[in-house]
Structures are given as C-alpha cells and as structure tokens.
Symmetry: C2
Subunit: 419 residues, 2 copies
C-alpha cells in the first residue's frame, strides 16, 4: 500500500461540506481555478489528495472569518465539520517544509472557508527515520542537571532586558545558590550591545562552573542563540567551549531549516522558544494546533518545547496547555526520547498540583519567573516554595497540609494567590 500523509482539520464553510473538502484537496494537489490540459484521469487517480472522512458539525448564522469579494450568493448558514485529507507520499517526498506547504500552505487563504484549523498530522514512518528527533530529550536533560523523578525547576533572568553580563552573572549565582535547576535567557535577550553574547556566556558560565564544583551538580542555562545560521553555530560552539549545557532559539523566527541545522550541529539540548505562537492559535477559527507543531519541531531536533502553563498570563486555555504537554510526552516512532515540555507563563507554586494531575507526568521543566524571583522572602524561599509544592503534588499531599510543613510555600500562597 502506498504511504500517505494524513491531516485532520476543523473547517467552517458557506458551501456544502463535501464541495469545500474537495476544494481543499484540489488546491493542495493538482488544482488551479480551471481544469487544465494534462490533468488526466490517471494523474488525478495517482496524485489527487483524498477526502478520507467528513464529520459534520453544527452550522452557524454568521461567518467566523471574513471573506473578501463576492461569493456569488448570500449564504443562509455556515457549516462546520471535521475533515480528514490524505496525500500520497509520491506527491511530497520526505521533506517537512514541503509537508507544511501541503497541509497548511495556501489553505488558510481559500475563500471557500470562513474558518480552517489544522488539528492533527499523521506521517509515514520513514519521516521519523530521516529526521533525527530530540537527541537529549527528557532523559538527556535530567542527566545534565542531575535531577531524577521530580520536575526540573527553572526560572528566567528578570528583568528580561537591561542587565549587564556582570549583573547577569551575579543574578545567576543567586538563583543557582537558591537551588534552581535551570535558567533561561528571556527571548528578548540575544546579542544586544548592553549584553554581548560571549561576554554574557563568560560571566554566566564562570559562576555556573564554580557553583557546580561546590554543589556537585551543574545548573543548566539556556543561552538564546537565535540569529543567522553562522551566528547560531558560532554561539553554540562558544557556549559548549565554556561548559554550557543548553542553547535556546526562537523557533518561529529562526524557522524550520535553521532549527534543523542548529539541532543537527548541537552537542547540547535545544530549548525551543515559541514566541510568535499566538498567531497559530489566538483566533479559534484559524491556525495550527500545537499538537501538530510540537511534532514538527521535535522531528527537527528540538529537545525542550514551550507549552505555556495552567492559568497562564496569556490567552491559552488550560485544556490546550495540557494537550500540548501531553503531545510532547507522547513518544514518536523510533525516537530514543520524548521532548521535554516547558511549563511557563505566570507559574508559581500554586499550579503544581493541578499541573501534575492534568498532565500526569513529572517529566516537565517547570519555569517560574516572577513566581520565584518575586517571592516576598527572596530567591531561596521562592525555589523552596515551588519544590515543596511539587513534592506535595507528587506525593498526593493536599496544598493546605504542605503549607503547614513549609513556611516558604505558605508565604508564596499568601503573596501570589491574593486576588
């Protein structure tokens, strides 16, 4: 049987659903707006995208997304449906950039749709052989930071912007002494004049290497290497030369081909930051689910994948956050390890229990910015509060009970949970 790429969508359309699904299939395989010479029956049979399944949903009176120009009729209603299409691998080959052009390319623009969202993507096995996947993943990261069982506790350098390399190094010392496992650059911080990349690496790694001698384990720092290919590889090499154990990149701005090159080259885990991700999900009527994009980034070699967190400061629902994190932890065929979900945005001790309950795994990188550095009793109290909350969560101890046992946790609840 010929291998096929399969994609599932949510659609909304003023046309009969079958007709709209055919338009999707046509546009993304043999189509143009008129039947052309050379579009033989044989060619269509071999190469046309196939409508595999249609699941009709409710209809609505008004379009969710506007259509420019005249449809040629006034729709009485707009029909919603789940639609699954498939393409023979013959059409595309084993190239993820071309897969995306096929399953997501022009579809969002088609005037046949007043809503279109890519929900799921299924790929033939051979893709997982071509693309290396995360080479460090959950277990590689655990080993590097010497943390087993519990979630790794991370934080972000704050203020995001404005600290000199020396000030950053001082802050890192305080955070590592306070007990964090992981620290990341803010995504705004790359190689700016006020904190040149190599100077920041020097300052940070001096501190981290020294404290590793004392503590007997080394904190991981994700340096944001985002830039041109040459810049990223050079920065990666510099990080590794100074004993660093992680590099970070803004996936949506570096892009698929750049991330693949960085990941293939890298000796350390790739921390995948998804800023810009709002464009993929913020409209409920258009975009791509992260359950799809995490797969793409993971195949390209990203080890850590941002997923937001429960009750985050952004607009993502808890349901979506949980689905994303679970997807990262779902093994992909043939890969040695899963991707490590990064739980962040407005996180503090208070979400630990619900996070564990809903995701069902301690294999997380739990990142608190203000939730650690904003603790009223300081950094150590901040880290302790998060650790205590997670210990309680993992052991099934209720928060109230855990608070009695930990002043730092109690103070965190008093401070962060106030209305």
């Amino acid at each position: 049987m010929m291998e096929r790429i399969e994609a599932r969508y949510w659609i909304e359309t003023p046309f009969p659903v079958e007709k709209a699904a055919s338009a999707m299939a046509g546009e993304q395989s043999s189509g143009t707006f008129v039947k052309v010479v050379g579009e033989s029956e044989e060619l269509t049979r071999r190469h046309a995208a196939r409508v595999e399944r249609i699941e009709q949903l409710e209809s609505v009176a008004a379009p969710s997304l506007p259509v420019s120009g005249a449809l040629g009729f006034v729709p009485a209603e707009y029909q919603r449906a789940f639609v699954t299409l498939s393409w023979p691998i013959e059409n595309v080959g084993y190239h993820l950039q071309n897969v995306m052009a096929t399953v997501a390319g022009n579809l969002f623009e088609l005037s046949q749709f007043t809503g279109l969202r890519l929900l799921e993507l299924g790929l033939p096995e051979a893709f997982y052989k071509k693309y290396v996947g995360p080479r460090h993943g959950v277990s590689g990261t655990r080993k590097l930071v010497s943390v087993s069982q519990r979630p790794m506790i991370g934080t972000i350098i704050k203020p995001s912007v404005g600290l000199s390399p020396k000030q950053t190094g001082k802050r890192v010392a305080e955070l590592v002494e306070a007990g964090v496992d992981f620290i990341k650059d803010d995504e705004l911080m790359g190689d700016p004049p006020h904190s040149p990349f190599e100077e920041r690496v020097d300052a940070v790694m001096t501190v981290i290497n020294e404290l590793a001698q004392i503590q007997g384990r080394k904190a991981m720092y994700a340096f944001n290497v985002s830039g041109s290919i040459d810049e990223m590889l050079k920065r990666h090499d510099y990080v590794v030369s100074r004993g660093g154990t992680c590099v970070m990149a803004s996936m949506n701005w570096v892009g698929m081909s750049g991330i693949e090159t960085l990941a293939t080259h890298s000796d350390v885990p790739i921390h995948g930051h998804r800023n810009g991700w709002g464009m993929f999900y913020r409209s409920p009527f258009m975009g791509v689910n992260y359950t799809v994009m995490q797969k793409i980034w993971r195949m390209l070699g990203v080890d850590h994948l941002h997923c937001n967190g429960l009750r985050n400061k952004f607009c993502e629902s808890d349901e979506s956050v949980v689905a994303s994190a679970k997807a990262c932890l779902d093994p992909l065929s043939g890969y040695g390890d899963r991707a490590l979900p990064v739980i962040s945005s407005g996180q503090w001790a208070g979400q630990a229990s619900d996070t564990f309950e809903s995701i069902g795994s301690p294999d997380l990188l739990y990142v608190c910015g203000g939730g650690i550095v904003g603790h009223p009793d300081g950094l150590k109290a901040g880290v302790n509060s998060v650790r205590s909350a997670w210990e309680a969560a993992l052991q099934g101890v209720p928060l109230g009970e855990a608070m009695s046992a930990s002043t730092d946790l109690q103070r965190a609840v008093e401070f962060f949970a106030k209305p």
Copy 2:
C-alpha cells in the same frame, strides 16, 4: 540620540488604552507579572519600551478575539486604538530574529488584548547595512529575462503535482514557445519521488537552454529548493550549474535564518513564496501586515515577493494586495534595488488595467496559472491575451478597444469573465 526600533499596532482591549499600551511595552522589555528585584529606575529609564503615540479609535461591545480565564471584571466595552511603541537598539542589537521576538513575540498572546495587529515597523539605518537586501531585485530580474518596461509575464506548472520531469520539460517547452518570461514550480512541488529535483532541473533546463539559443533570450524558471540548509544549497548549486536563473523557497517554512543563508549563498534571484501567509492576515484582529513582513524578507535577501493579485481566489482584499506590492517597490535605505512584487492567484488578462492603475508601476511579475494555460485557444493565445491586456493598460487603451485589436484577448474575456 539613541537609535530606536519603532512599531505601530492596531489593538483592541477591555482595559484603558494607556494601561494596555504599558502592558505591551512592559512585556516586551523589562516585564514579568510582578515587579522584581533589580528592576531599578535607572534600568527602566534606559531599557523600557516607550509608548510613543496612542490614537484612540472606536469601541465595540463584544471582544473580537476570546480571552481565556477571568479578567477579574466584566468589560462594558472594548476600546480600539493605534499604538506606537519604540525600543532602544541597546535592548535588541542588529538581529532581525530578535527584532521579531521583540515586536511580535509574545504580544499576540497577551490576555490584555482582544485584538492586536502589527502594522508598521521602523528600523535604524544600521540594519540596512548589516542585511544585504535583494541582490537582483527588479532590475536584475529584468536583465536575466531580457524584458524592459512592461511587467514580466509568468506562469506556474499545472497540474501542480503529478507530472514527471520529462512531462514537465515538455510543458516548459510549450510555455516558453508560447512566450512566457517566467515559470515557477508550484509550491507543492519540491523533491518528490515522482519528480526528483535534479531530474526535473535537467529536463527543464535542457529545454530552456535550447530555446534560449533560438529565441535569443532565456526564460526564467523558479525551482522550489525548500528543504534543509544543505539540501537548499546543493539544489541551488545544481540549478546554477545547469544554467538556471532562479530558485524559489517557501519563506514561512524555511524560515528567516534559512532564507538568509540561501540568499547570501545564491548567484540567482530568490523567488519568495509566502504559502502559510494566511495565518498572518486571515483574521482581521490579529497578525502582521505584509508591509512589515516584505521588509523582513527583503532585508534577508529575497528578490521576488508574492503579493496575491486583484480579485484573487483567496481572501485578501484588493486594498491589502496593492499596499503589499507598493511596499515591495518602495526603496529601502541603502539597497541597490527594490523587491519585485509577484502578482498571482486567479490572475488573467482581465486584471491588468486595474493592477497598473492601482499599483502605478510596470515593475511586476504577473503570474497567471489557469489564466494562461486555461485559455480556450491554447497557451500561445493565453500568453498573448495577457501581453495584449498589459500593453493596453500601459498605453491607457480601454479594454474594449484592446479586445477589438486582439482575438486572443477577446476570447480570454469571453472565457474567463463569464459569471
């Protein structure tokens, strides 16, 4: 005076506009959700993003985009405004990936907004020195295809998918003999099993090189090289070795860093395909205007930029298409040439006059798929119809008059303009 990056947005918010603008500025410079240690007044003064201007617009009763979770109050209305922010270059450095993380990164997700769109981006001069810009642009492309004055007329291989290299070569021969200046791979066509990249290049370039001898000018074929960095560079080199004069890439899936590497390496114009672009514009309440993105792609070295066309088969308004094409043709400081706007999607002879009138320039690549290959009298008649329409447009001759002088144009109007 310190150089600043400036970005203009349309926003919608349940909060007072000033407060919302401050949240944007805070999140994208020093911010987290609580005030943290080290966020000194001096640091804030030097590094905080600045709210430059606020232009209050109408308010609406219902939110345009949903917000997850509780706002803590029930908004009476949602206020719209134009907001301009600026950042000191000290924060970011001359790196476009970090610029995007700053001006577009997490902003789309902020729960303070029920709508947020990036409209304009202003960069300090030094950016234009660092990034090479298009090295071929309008004039380089004109020279390669030996067409001055009038728009270059292009087409797309259709059916998009399914032709063997040999069949593709045959189709190219027919199209070039019919008089097209430019042909492109469909964006679905990369390096699939049924049309391996190098075999397709061989078949196509054999034909193009032969016909160039006969016609005295060489048609340009944009081969879709989208893939990993190594694949793209290898494919580019192969195209050039066979006498090819253009390579194409799916910008949104290759990504900024990959496009920059390809463009820096390339000896020929880069044809920038923007499939996936729907996600940036399809919701009127979220995204990035192409007037911004064309600037980014152009700085990274892309020569040809897709803009859709008037009365396109997609959902983009004519107003947006015209703004995009004009933006590509607006010179950027210090660059030798502008980017060549690619006018395509549902194009045929019928839009030539309005296109010229609204964009005001013949410096276009006017690409008709079905509009040429679907002409009832064949390819040559298809190309003639488009050329005649453009000649008339450039000379200010009304369509009716031009139809009397050209049977091919008349037949095109009868065929394509039918309701």
